[in-house]
């Protein structure tokens, strides 16, 4: 198990080949004084030129948790195991996976295969577990409105952690649990958060005050999303994907959303 100690940590997930948002996120984290940056997985998917994001992350020496997409690409599985249940969502997921697999260099795929499923972070002494979906399953969705407090407390108890950071859903949220514990879904930097804002989201986790839960600073990152949408179109990726990048509204992968999260979006 990789262990990292820090006081102020930028944590982002769901890069989805969005190399422009990734560069902007790393610049933002440095400017915001983060002393570490950690990625919660899913480097590929959805966006164009998947090797570019891999190269940026590897050259920066950033610690990466293995997401379900990284696991599938690394092991040459036939699909991404994103966990979709709807035929339309699965059709888009299959298009995206075929594109990404074909354009991810074998050396990057081999690197993805060996990524760790979790990282332990000591946030000024506060034991924090970082994983992609949930501590027990890389493709488990932890949505804000479909996850009870009791379940989150159980996940923390069984993980021997006071804080837990996940991604996978693409929608950011956090919940404080007594005593002094916290769960954070950092969202995704690869596509916007389905709220009509094309900027992407990540979190800076900060050391807890005496007896309190670790703090969260939400960071909204603007980047040249029009340039990314142009690259996606040039690569022949679905127009629906480019629309999401430009408008901030999800157009696909919607059928796994719970009632509340689905009701907030345009589609």
């Amino acid at each position: 198990m990789i262990r990292i100690s820090a006081r102020r940590v930028a944590i982002f997930g769901g890069v989805y080949s969005n190399h422009l948002a990734l560069e902007a996120t790393l610049a933002d984290a440095a400017a915001a004084g983060a002393d570490e940056a950690i990625c919660l997985g899913d480097l590929g998917a959805f966006g164009p030129h998947p090797d570019r994001a891999c190269e940026i992350v590897r050259q920066a020496g950033i610690a990466v948790v293995q997401g379900n997409y990284d696991h599938s690409l690394g092991h040459g599985l036939p699909d991404c195991r994103c966990g979709y249940t709807d035929p339309r969502d699965n059709r888009f997921a299959a298009l995206s996976y075929r594109y990404t697999y074909a354009r991810t260099a074998p050396t990057h795929r081999a690197w993805m295969r060996d990524l760790p499923p979790a990282i332990r972070l000591s946030l000024d002494g506060c034991e924090t577990l970082l994983c992609h979906g949930s501590p027990r399953r890389a493709n488990e969705f932890l949505w804000e409105s479909s996850t009870s407090d009791a379940f989150l407390a159980w996940l923390l108890d069984t993980s021997d952690a006071a804080a837990l950071c996940v991604s996978h859903t693409g929608l950011p949220w956090t919940r404080e649990l007594p005593p002094g514990r916290r769960v954070v879904n950092v969202g995704a930097i690869g596509r916007p958060a389905n709220d009509g804002d094309p900027r992407v989201v990540y979190a800076i986790l900060t050391a807890a005050p005496e007896g309190g839960a670790p703090g969260v600073e939400w960071r909204r990152v603007a980047y040249d999303h029009s340039a990314l949408a142009s690259e996606m179109r040039e690569e022949g990726l679905p127009e629906e994907f480019a629309e999401t990048i430009e408008t901030g509204w999800w157009t696909t992968c919607l059928e796994v959303l719970p009632q509340k999260e689905r009701a907030r979006g345009r589609y």
């Binding site: 599985l77 249940t85 409105s145 009870s148 796994v256 689905r262 589609y267």
Partner: protein
Amino acid sequence: MSLEHSRPRARSHPDPTAPPILEPGHLDALWLQVTGTLCNLRCGHCFISCGPDNRALGLLSIEDVRRRLEESVGLGVREYYVTGGEPFLHPGIVDILTLALSYGPTTVLTNGTLLKPRHVELLAAAAAGRFSLEFRISIDGPDPASNDGLRGEGSFERAMEGFDLLVSFGFLPIVTVVRTWETEADPEVYRRIVAMLRERGCEKPRVKTMPALRIGAEAQRSGGYAADERVVSGMLDDYDLDQLVCAHARVVTDHGIWVCPILLDAPDGNLGDDLTVAARAPFALSHAACHTCWLHGAICSNPGVVAPETPFATAGAAT
């Protein structure tokens, strides 16, 4: 308990024709059988033969519900499913759903025919909190011709009136359809149901297709299971056990805790009255309906709760 110890496990039997035994994992979902086997409809494909005169299982009181919800907190339950029978036959259904929502995300499985504006108005207010209230409305096709033969004359229109009412209050019901057609027709049936929901003004149609469970009334209708449609030892090797409902769920009834929402007619499905014990009780997958659950996976939970093991029909992307 560690995370590793909270995973479901399968014990094979030395006899290859014997059913494997499932040792459940963490209790994710608590089902509340609030109206037992009592239903206003008498569907031809019901897997428990619920109906207006089936009182094999009775109503849960709100005190029963409250006690089980309190117990569930210590067990780390993630979400609640409220079912029957028809839950809206329960005189306290609004209070039950409101109470469950104060503990966590709640789904109610209804035929939609008894929803009243006053119910829905109160539930919309209750659902304004942190957790999603999901409605699953059962119909069996995109029109009365495909639905009413199974569910009763006029039931399609009544269910869709309930659907419209929910949509008018901002709910996005998940229309749940039991597959009573050949699997090959799935895309066409799905397309027609989505089109029908859009025509009714629902901008975000949600549809869940479920396989038929050939027990109860459905066994009479379709002939039940063949003798070799059973889960036997070895079939759980390299199988994703999270797909099995009984690996992560239990059902509260007025006659005790049941192993899953499907086997309510099976005497060995009753695991006693102690939820903590029942949540950890091993179960032999000896029933024919277990084969359907094994084959399709995650048949009872909402879309997105359990990731399907092999979602794409078009495999081979990596070759």
